[in-house]
Symmetry: C2
Subunit: 165 residues, 2 copies
Amino acid sequence: MAKALKTEQTTNEPVTLDKTDLSILRLLQQNARMTVKEIADKVHLSTTPVHERIKWLERSGVIKQYAALIDHAKVKKGLMVICYVSLKEHSRNAGTKFIKHINELPEVIECYNISGEFDFMLKVVAENMDDYYNFHVNKLSQSENIGNVQSVFVMGVLKHTQVMV
Amino acid sequence: MAKALKTEQTTNEPVTLDKTDLSILRLLQQNARMTVKEIADKVHLSTTPVHERIKWLERSGVIKQYAALIDHAKVKKGLMVICYVSLKEHSRNAGTKFIKHINELPEVIECYNISGEFDFMLKVVAENMDDYYNFHVNKLSQSENIGNVQSVFVMGVLKHTQVMV
DNA sequence: GGACAGTAAAGAATAAAATCCTGTTTGTAC
DNA sequence: GTACAAACAGGATTTTATTCTTTACTGTCC
């Protein structure tokens, strides 16, 4: 049980994954509830090595989380908006404050620092247009450092997968 | 066990969730491996009702998937790019072909139909700039119907949560 | 008020899965 | 060939999920 003994902790270094690791990852990305036995059958191994590999993938930080994915529309968050934001002031402190603000807004489910005209790209979910307008005017724009904001509305989700390896 | 008897199948209708359902959802969005017992303790119920509620959330389609989330950088997919695409021709058939193409490209992990200047927004992961360039030139642009393509590079992930309710 | 139906939950029994332990196989260095 | 380590199989043990049975609560009809 070599991998089990590696004390590889969460650093930012990429790790080396063999064919079996990748097969296991692909299966778990699609269904995190798949049992070790089921995975073992699919990768043609017994449960022990599969279990050890999964634990190693968790310890090494390759698998960073197991999450239940929710149907937006079912929970009355049918509107998705991509929202671009530029700041007026770009000091370290101003940026930190903005990020803190974003993290307190539950409507914002993703936020990226991006290249180009705007500073940030946000993925926002809301119940409907009124709800989004309220978020825009009363929450997002409350930060005094917000410059421009531009909204792009998502009209349809064509692909949304977790599988990337 | 009222909810257990509801034969609510996956439609697009929003469903009604009470406080307890929302608490359970919040926990599972953060950690899909949390045991029924742990959840039960946190929501101050026994395992039975919690188990039944979870099963109902699955059957009704509120929980659409359990997924292992991967650290991009760890699996050598450190570069994330937001990619805008407009098509030359907008017929139903041309759109369908594009979507089919997108679904065959593993680098594209998300694809949205959007409002505004471009038709689609793609989230793409690649190993590095060369890898992305190769994707852009040899894969994405191979569709004969591609008009404009614009790439925005993600310089940092500031927030990425599954929790939306 | 009291019987009744419907709903929600607790507690215990059972089934299934994860986890751990022991030993075997395989490849490699000496 | 022998020693050693990595990777694995099979089975024992522990933990968890699932099911079953019983109890408690709520509102309605008579």
